[in-house]
Symmetry: C2
Subunit: 330 residues, 2 copies
DNA sequence: AGAGGCATTGCAAACGTTTGTGTAAAGTGC
DNA sequence: GCACTTTACACAAACGTTTGCAATGCCTCT
């Protein structure tokens, strides 16, 4: 149906090889005259290159795939923007696949769609791969790198923030404001990221000489609901003066549930979010946050895959962004 | 490097053709015995199919591409979920491409990446294609369908809500609550969608016998900033008792700016959002909305592309979702 | 004039599949 | 035991490119 280089070759009266060289603009391999003739023929036929065929013979591709864990985590967007920007610089194209939340079957589908095709490399945004899927990925021999997620048990390349520091600095921030009874809401201690954040929180509290009450740590899956449930578990007279939300969404959940319980934020209760995505600015009061540099993570991910041999695990910096949800505890 | 069917063929002592048939599970074309032998060999070699090669010869593909306009519009997620779910049902794989906001160069890049590859069809989520890019798309002969965007000048397939009705019903909702001075904030009248919403608004006001003051309509690009700027333009004593946000984001912008101007929502000012994404539930007060069924749009998009010959323009239903941002005007 | 070099182009193999056609062996019915 | 069908497989072409190699013609130098 669609025009091929053979059609162009016939129309321009040259061989397919020559057409290929002209279209790839391999200077020095064709005369000005035939170059024009071929380009004219291509334009006339509305030629569209079949990249799949080209990739088949060249055995390389300029597509990088980003697999994201779900549409729910809103921090995916700055990462993707970072990936796009850096990929553009390296003349790469980006395709994105959704892998669902905890659905190992959907993960497998996303993974095989990219593995079965010539992609140059794979970036996994915060996707916690089931063991068999990780095996699939490693087996494929395609370079990959995890983003915004880290591991302790297994040895894989990843780029993320230092989650221990995230927990530690969040807690420190509140301690410095004079808070003592500090809750941690909505983190998932089943995985490395959450465990590290809890550990950082514990260490900061320990250094301050504060004994953590067990109910101060409310685990969850970083979601809005998790934040709400955590706050409900704390209740109307929790004794807490500050709460760290395990993610922005969790913090918003805490915020709204706290308001329903009669708390005023930040007067009665300070809330500190972790992530620092745009949602922090949308709610009232705007949530102060320990912010991760997601854009930078995306950039670093592409760079890492373009410069193999680099160290496979990298930490991006975090910083406190003050907005309106924190107050000194008097 | 990677194993091919030829390697399997050699190992299993059969021809590549037979391997292909076994792996494609073409029952009746091979004996139980060779089937086992081939599968064992494939497993041993860690074989991964090269789908690109297969697609080259079969001239068809099971990939559908979704091109989304930017990472900013948060309604993309339910549409994508709808696409994924329905695509799964048809045994299709989905890849997603970002096309930037108003960057025709980035649009072109996204478009060519999919056109140059064997994709079965293309869904464009709310992307307003530059003329030359539309030509590119149409020229490619790949079936496509626009989602959540409509056109009047050009004849292309699209699935969206009835934007005139959106504007009309939003206005009606507020009129029924006794409001008369109603603002419309952040819609973009440069394109069909925005024009229609404005037209619906005008018609409802006309029917109610209300003369619209020019400053009541504050145009913008549906963003949070657009909402904020609109509200700032209205000012602290606008005389308005209700405002329609052109999108959820715009409505949140209106909400926060209104609060800064001293308005209490909904006591002093009712706000009605258009779209009804999750952000409406996250802010306080939760925003009532004219909600679109984005998930359904995604589903319908895939169905439309799987059943060609169907009518190419479809309207998905809208509905009012009441939350906490509306109050009767007394 | 012969040798060598260069510019331009054609030829053909290769990439990893799918699938139509050919064919030998085995099975079936009389 | 013959003709016929079925089963199970091999063979080879094809998909649309890229690219190494060969071939041609022309130019330049000695």
């Amino acid at each position: 149906m669609a025009a091929t280089i053979k059609d162009i070759a016939k129309l321009a009266g040259v061989s397919p090889g020559t057409v290929s060289r002209v279209l790839a603009n391999k200077v020095g391999f064709f005369s000005e005259y035939t170059g024009e003739k071929v380009r004219a023929a291509a334009a006339e036929l509305g030629y569209q290159k079949n990249t799949a065929a080209a990739e088949l013979v060249t055995q390389r591709s300029n597509v990088v795939a980003a697999i994201v864990n779900s549409t729910k985590t809103n921090f995916a967007s700055p990462i993707i923007e970072g990936i796009q920007a850096e990929a553009h610089r390296h003349d790469l194209n980006v395709i994105i696949l959704y892998a669902g939340d905890d659905d190992s079957e959907q993960q497998r589908r996303a993974l095989t769609t990219v593995i079965e095709r010539p992609v140059r490399s794979i970036l996994l945004l915060s996707v916690d791969l089931a063991a068999e899927n990780l095996a699939l990925l490693q087996n494929s021999r395609i370079p990959f790198c995890f983003l915004s997620i880290s591991f302790d048990e297994i040895q894989v390349p990843y780029i993320t923030s230092d989650d221990w520091q995230v927990g530690y600095q969040a807690t420190q921030t509140l301690l410095k404001l004079g808070h003592q009874n500090i809750g941690l809401a909505g983190v998932d201690s089943d995985f490395h990221t959450g465990r590290q954040r809890v550990a950082g929180y514990r260490q900061a509290m320990r250094e301050a000489g504060i004994t953590i009450q067990p109910e101060w740590i409310q685990l969850g899956n970083y979601s809005y609901d998790a934040g709400q449930m955590a706050m409900q578990a704390y209740g109307a007279d929790s004794g807490l003066t500050a709460i760290i939300g395990g993610s922005d969404m969790a913090a918003v959940g805490v915020l709204n549930a706290a308001r329903n319980l009669g708390y005023r934020v930040p007067t009665d209760l300070s809330i500190l979010a972790i992530d620092g995505t745009e949602i922090c600015e949308l709610v009232q009061p705007a949530l102060s946050s320990i912010s991760q540099n997601f854009y930078e993570m995306g950039v670093a991910g592409v760079q890492q895959l373009c410069a193999p041999g680099e160290l496979p695990q990298k930490i991006t910096p975090i910083k406190l962004v003050e907005r309106d949800s924190l107050q000194r505890n008097s």
